[in-house]
Symmetry: C2
């Protein structure tokens, strides 16, 4: 393990590698190569080798990567060798869909009936969490009326984020189309389909 900071873009690719490796494992595979992984992901083999080498020595030239071993190593690097508690804040269209999402199993996060969809006072025991539409989570403010969270109101969203941070939440995955201000040490990622689309239209004519 090297001690210089790893670029965020490299860290961001590890979950993609992991997802492909887990798929191969489910197919009963034992060994793969950076070539094969690259073909599955549309990333060059050289890039994959370079990325992985920043975290350690995981394969040998000529013999490739041992899939179960590499899965275990990446899970450790990403701190998902144990499950994180997560919670969905909000029960609108997106929140409900996310709460039913099948893609958490074996990926480091509580899912199904273990997945929490509860009010703020219970937030204290969460460490990782995401934040979706707020319409029905009325207990997050002192206002008990469902619908008190206007999805277009920036201040309300920020207030909810503030309360989550106060409660000790360290990571927020926000589906709300606003940028949240959080203190150092708290991570935020956004899922905003328009933003993802705009990243592609740049390349289209």
């Amino acid at each position: 393990m090297i001690n210089k900071p790893i670029p965020e873009i490299v860290v961001g690719r590890l979950p993609q590698y992991l997802r492909s490796l887990q798929r191969m494992a489910r197919e009963g595979r034992q060994v793969t190569s950076s070539q094969e992984l690259g073909e599955r992901l549309g990333i060059s083999a050289a890039q994959i080798r370079k990325d992985l080498s920043q975290f350690g020595e995981f394969g040998k030239q000529g013999t490739g990567y041992n899939i179960p071993f590499l899965i275990e190593q990446i899970q450790k690097i990403l701190h998902i060798h144990h499950d994180w508690d997560i919670a969905v804040v909000g029960a609108g269209d997106i929140g409900s869909a996310v709460a039913r999402y099948k893609g958490f199993t074996d990926r480091g996060f509580m899912s199904g009936s273990s997945l929490t969809t509860i009010p703020l006072r219970s937030v204290r025991r969460w460490e990782s969490l995401w934040c979706t539409t707020m319409r029905k989570s009325s207990k997050l403010s002192d206002n008990r009326h469902p619908g008190c969270y206007d999805r277009r109101t920036r201040l309300v969203r920020q207030e909810v984020a503030d309360r989550l941070v106060e409660a000790g939440v360290k990571a927020i995955l926000s589906y709300a189309p606003i940028s949240l201000n959080v203190p150092q040490g708290v991570r935020v990622q956004y899922i905003d389909p328009s933003l993802h689309l705009q990243r592609m239209t740049y390349y289209l004519c």
Copy 2:
């Protein structure tokens, strides 16, 4: 405009800048600075100036950025000064939520009743699109039974992507937790909540 390729990570930040600027414009603001933009986004002012300078000269030291002008310029850079046709493929939980998503308006994409949720034969006139759960879009294969798309089946997803590419689609935003193989010239972005969460757990202990 400089002719060397701009790093993808820089292109990826432009939509964030645009979203903040559009919010300021809605607040009636005329001028902003890289400092203010940086504070709203949690990105350093220097980074924002450096990013924007890769695309041209948009502000003057001491006077800041003219918001309507900068919005227009970024919209042109991202090719969203006109609306793109988009379509939601699939009408499961996520697909339905996305079809009702309010965040497309004024962001370069058709929304509301203009947003298409139809079968493949109409794909020919689309250029930008995303691809969600497939359960009800039975016409995308020759099998007419709704539910023929098993959401866990890799091959089916890939087959749908292949058909979309054949039909001339140039950009796919996929909510399916698999990596798609597409030819050169076709862009794919993925929205996978587990993947986004894993990008954050790396930084948590």
